[in-house]
Symmetry: C2
Subunit: 202 residues, 2 copies
């Protein structure tokens, strides 16, 4: 592993490609698949920022390499901002996208349209280890919109089929990957982090 | 139906008995079973107070009799106060206590104990129709506590088996009905409403 490698604390190939694209491929990137013994970091934080930092710190400590981690989710007005940090395990099991989506649809079935406002939020953290201490940054990106009741589109993942971003007639599951990146919470957070990454590593 | 009857907008016999006990049986009480054609009132409000008033207004308008309605739920810190007004349908179907309880347990499985604070909240509304207008009151009762991870007790209903009220070693499902009434959100709301009922009807 070259010393100038940046670790992205994820096993998700799509996130790796997205960050590489945003950074302009100028920096070597490795995912968690390159570190089979890396610890599993439970997302016990109360906020996206806390969880992104938890994960980035743990992986930076393990790899001794600059590390980016993100945490994201969907915040629904009618649910006081939940599923929020529990978005990926809303129906009880981690990562069961279909169960999470269907549970949320059922929960808001009697909620009037006026309270279906929602936003996707992503916090992205960068931790650069240095001689026993570390420098840390965390930024957030958001995209505002509202829930629709009947899913549309087969792209994206998670709650994308029921999320209509403000100003668009397509759900984020109906957009091309490039169009989604341009407005998405993760795209925005990663783009905000990019200059901090290049500034701290180069 | 005598003109001095008070309607409690519920089909729940337990609630009827509880309100009768608190009012000292001085007032004739009828549940919704006495009004088979009464409308179903969707609980579309954003707050317990709004839902209790929605229900009391609709039933008072239908019966032209003084009407009490309540709405209650469990507000969990780690879920930004949810399940809240969605407590009875948290897992998607109305009134599936077991599914609701198990979903909530799964959702908080990674949440640290420090954020398992929770409270039961009940809003009770009284609507007294009078010549095309109506007088309205709404009061709330709360009981503070915290969630436990493994259910205990077979009394009560809903989330009682995982709710430990502050200052007690028993869940509300392990308490006798009288002990629970003495501290419960619904007991407190109904007791707060009692003098308003007797004052407005006698």
């Amino acid at each position: 592993m070259p010393a100038d490698t940046l670790v992205l604390a994820t096993r998700n190939e799509g996130k790796l490609r997205e960050l590489a694209r945003i950074l302009g491929y100028r920096i070597g990137l490795a995912g968690l698949d390159a570190f089979p013994a890396a610890p599993d970091v439970p997302e016990t934080g109360a906020t996206f920022e806390a969880n992104a930092l938890l994960k980035a710190r743990a992986i930076a400590a393990f790899t001794n390499l600059p590390t980016v981690a993100d945490d994201s989710g969907l915040c629904v007005d009618a649910l006081n901002g939940m599923p929020g940090v529990l978005s990926a395990r809303w129906a009880g099991q981690h990562g069961d996208d279909k169960a999470n989506l269907n549970l949320l649809r059922a929960q808001v079935s009697d909620v009037p349209d006026a309270r279906l406002g929602a936003r996707f939020v992503c916090a992205a953290a960068l931790v650069v280890p240095a001689d026993g201490t570390a420098r840390e940054w965390v930024v957030t990106g958001e995209v505002e919109g509202r829930l629709i009741r009947v899913p549309r589109g087969s792209g994206g993942f998670g709650y994308d089929p029921i999320f209509l971003p403000n100003g668009f007639n397509q759900t984020t599951a109906e957009m091309t990957p490039d169009a989604k990146d341009a407005i998405s919470h993760r795209g925005r957070a990663f783009r905000a982090l990019a200059p901090l990454i290049t500034g701290s590593l180069t």
